[in-house]
């Protein structure tokens, strides 16, 4: 298979397949969760579920001072890595074009060299988190194969993307194809691993906040 054929394969049928698995998978997972049901509380309400739910959905992104003090490393690295990931995925013009093709929406991007630098920063943050995961007793105990796997499938698109951008020693088509393939790996892994937190997090925060809201906890 030539590099061009490889690129065509990943841009064509494989991308469609990955999209189907991603979209279908996410909805299956959401349905799976929602169908588990939740009993409505019979206790007299002191506040509204919605107010607490929405509040926690937003407020939980900002840690309190003590938590920041205690888990500062996790929080800073986590923030850098998540913001970096967001910038790289959604503000790189070639990526925006993918969304434009898929959903018809477009938005302005950032200069490519800023994306390039962000990729490196993001990878460094991810690396520090990986090292922390291996070195810290709590993280090491909690982590299983899945945690390392999702780290890898998240890091791979960044690494391959970096090389595709700089085309070091390999053909542009091949590296681009490998990059897209790594993204497809991420897409199909996404719904069925803890990467799903990207969407279940909103449900979790809602459920947690709804209880607080109902009890009038502020």
């Amino acid at each position: 298979m030539s590099d061009t054929e490889f690129l065509l394969l990943v841009r064509g049928p494989l991308f469609t397949l990955a999209t189907v698995i991603l979209v279908g998978g996410v909805l299956i997972r959401i349905a799976e969760i929602l169908f588990m049901g939740r009993k409505k509380s019979l206790a007299e309400a002191r506040g509204s579920e919605a107010s607490g739910g929405f509040r926690v959905m937003l407020s939980r992104s900002v840690p309190d001072a003590d938590t920041f003090h205690r888990s500062g490393f996790t929080i800073i690295s986590g923030y850098v890595f998540h913001i970096g990931l967001f910038v790289v995925i959604f503000l790189f013009v070639p990526h925006i074009l993918v969304f434009e093709r898929a959903i018809g929406l477009s938005w302005p991007g950032l200069p490519s060299n800023i994306i390039d630098a962000t990729t490196v920063i993001t990878l460094i943050a991810m690396l520090t988190l990986l090292i922390h995961r291996i070195v810290d007793p709590v993280r090491r105990m909690l982590s299983g194969f899945q945690d390392y796997w999702v780290w890898l499938v998240t890091a791979l698109p960044l690494i391959t993307g970096y090389f595709a951008f700089h085309r070091v020693g390999v053909s542009g088509a091949w590296m681009l194809a490998v990059h897209i393939l790594s993204v497809e790996l991420l897409m199909i892994t996404f719904p069925f691993t803890s990467l799903s937190h990207a969407f279940t997090l909103w449900m979790s925060r809602w459920y947690n906040g709804a209880v607080s809201g109902y009890r009038g906890i502020r």
């Binding site: 997972r29 588990m36 506040g47």
Partner: protein, 419 residues
């Protein structure tokens, strides 16, 4: 025998899993931040006390029973189910090393209510026969005698007589159509009868129509702590029956954390119907009376005071402002504990830890957190609103040779009643 227990526990765990649980378990990325929010971890450094780790048995059941891949791999015999040994191994983690304080639940960045899940794990472990002896015994006393400490009606009656002698007021018992029915925790009856006296004086002065039921005066609920909803429901039902029989408008939850959680938030769900009365916490009522101008206070405390929020009343119960309003009315020198309010650190004895002798050692280690906090703010007195917190803090202070008065907020308020 143990396989029968395992089956029972497993079946219970299966019942426990709902949409929030599934969402929480799907969201966790093992970031480990909950460990740093948990005093059993910070004071021991033992990673096994990481809150989300305590949920592991529930997570396994969820994967096995309620995820597509889990059911598939179970059908193919690829995954191992939870074993009885595993459940037994988790007992010290969820009973001794967790006070259900809920601090992890407000720190978790993905928003997981981990405490909510640990509560469910306890259901499974208890049904499987892995609850600690002390809690089982307390629960047995609660069900059979009516109180986890074995306090019977004559004991209460004796205390009431003392109170009536001290105050010169009468304590209403079994008065039908009273507005309020007061519940008491065994500890208040046995250790802090001053509380009953304080309430009697305050209600007399504020002209609150109230009563105590001779049939259901116990506020605590061991069923909640051990995690057996069937038994917890039975204990709640006793209160509900008594309150509805006396036809009261309100039931007052006293200075006890989990008692408030049990009667206010879990109760109706345990018995499966809303109450015919409302539930208020004593602090809610006092602050309301103060606001209405019925509770008039005079004089200020000269000591520098702080307030320790009982977890179930504050962070998980929503009563955070009222105690501060009351304290500000009688003190100009009130300092907050670091994180006071929503992020307050637990004393270390809640959630049944204090009834569990197995946890005596770790309980005192966990107290180091409160001790170092107290070292930081240097106060003359600590006020709280939970007998269990008070007893444990007193014990912890004594253990560390610290002389610091630990006060009941209600009792303190009573001292400032205007003439």
């Amino acid at each position: 025998m143990s396989s029968e227990g395992l089956q029972r526990g497993y079946a219970i765990l299966k019942e426990q899993i709902d949409a929030p649980t599934a969402s929480y378990l799907s969201s966790c990325v093992n970031c480990g931040m909950c460990a740093e929010a948990c005093l059993f971890f910070t004071e021991t450094g033992d990673p096994r006390y990481t809150p989300i780790h305590k949920v592991e048995p529930l997570k396994k059941v969820w994967r096995h029973e309620y995820t597509f891949w889990g059911r598939l791999s179970k059908a193919l015999g690829l995954s191992k189910p939870v074993t009885d040994e595993e459940l037994a191994a988790w007992s010290p983690l969820v009973y001794d090393g967790c006070s259900m304080c809920g601090r992890c639940s407000v720190v978790c960045p993905v928003g997981n209510d981990i405490t909510y899940m640990i509560r469910k794990v306890r259901e499974g472990l208890a049904a499987a026969g892995h609850a600690p002896e002390g809690l089982v015994a307390a629960t047995r006393r609660a069900i059979t005698v009516g109180s986890p400490m074995g306090v019977k009606l004559p004991a209460l009656q004796a205390q009431i007589r003392h109170v009536e002698q001290d105050t010169g007021l009468s304590v209403p018992v079994d008065v039908e159509n009273a507005d309020y029915m007061l519940l008491l925790s065994s500890m208040e009856i046995m250790n802090f009868p001053e509380f009953i006296a304080a309430v009697t004086r305050i209600f007399d002065r504020t002209e609150v129509s109230w009563t105590i039921s001779s049939e259901a005066f116990e506020a605590t609920n061991s069923g909640i702590q051990i995690g057996v909803s069937d038994l917890a429901a039975e204990l709640v039902q006793r209160v509900v029956t008594a309150a509805e029989k006396l036809n009261v408008k309100y039931v007052i939850s006293p200075e006890c954390g989990h008692a408030y959680m049990a009667i206010r938030w879990e109760g109706p769900n345990l018995i499966g119907r809303p109450y015919g009365f409302r539930v208020v916490h004593i602090l809610e009522l006092l602050d309301e009376l103060r606001e209405q101008g019925r509770l008039k206070l005079q004089g200020k405390e000269t000591d520098r005071l702080t307030y320790h929020d009982p977890c179930q009343i504050g962070r998980r119960g929503g009563i955070l402002e009222q105690p501060r309003n009351l304290l500000r009315a009688i003190s100009d020198d009130l300092v907050e504990l670091p994180g006071g309010g929503m992020m307050n650190w637990c004393c270390g004895a809640g959630g049944g830890v204090s009834s569990n002798e197995r946890a005596d050692e770790i309980r005192l280690r966990a107290f180091n957190r409160k001790k170092s906090q107290l070292d930081q703010i240097q106060v003359d007195g600590l006020v709280s609103a939970c007998s269990n917190c008070r007893i444990h803090i007193e014990e912890g202070l004594e253990h560390n040779h610290i002389d610091l008065p630990v006060l009941s907020l209600t009792e303190l308020i009573e001292k400032h009643l205007a003439d």
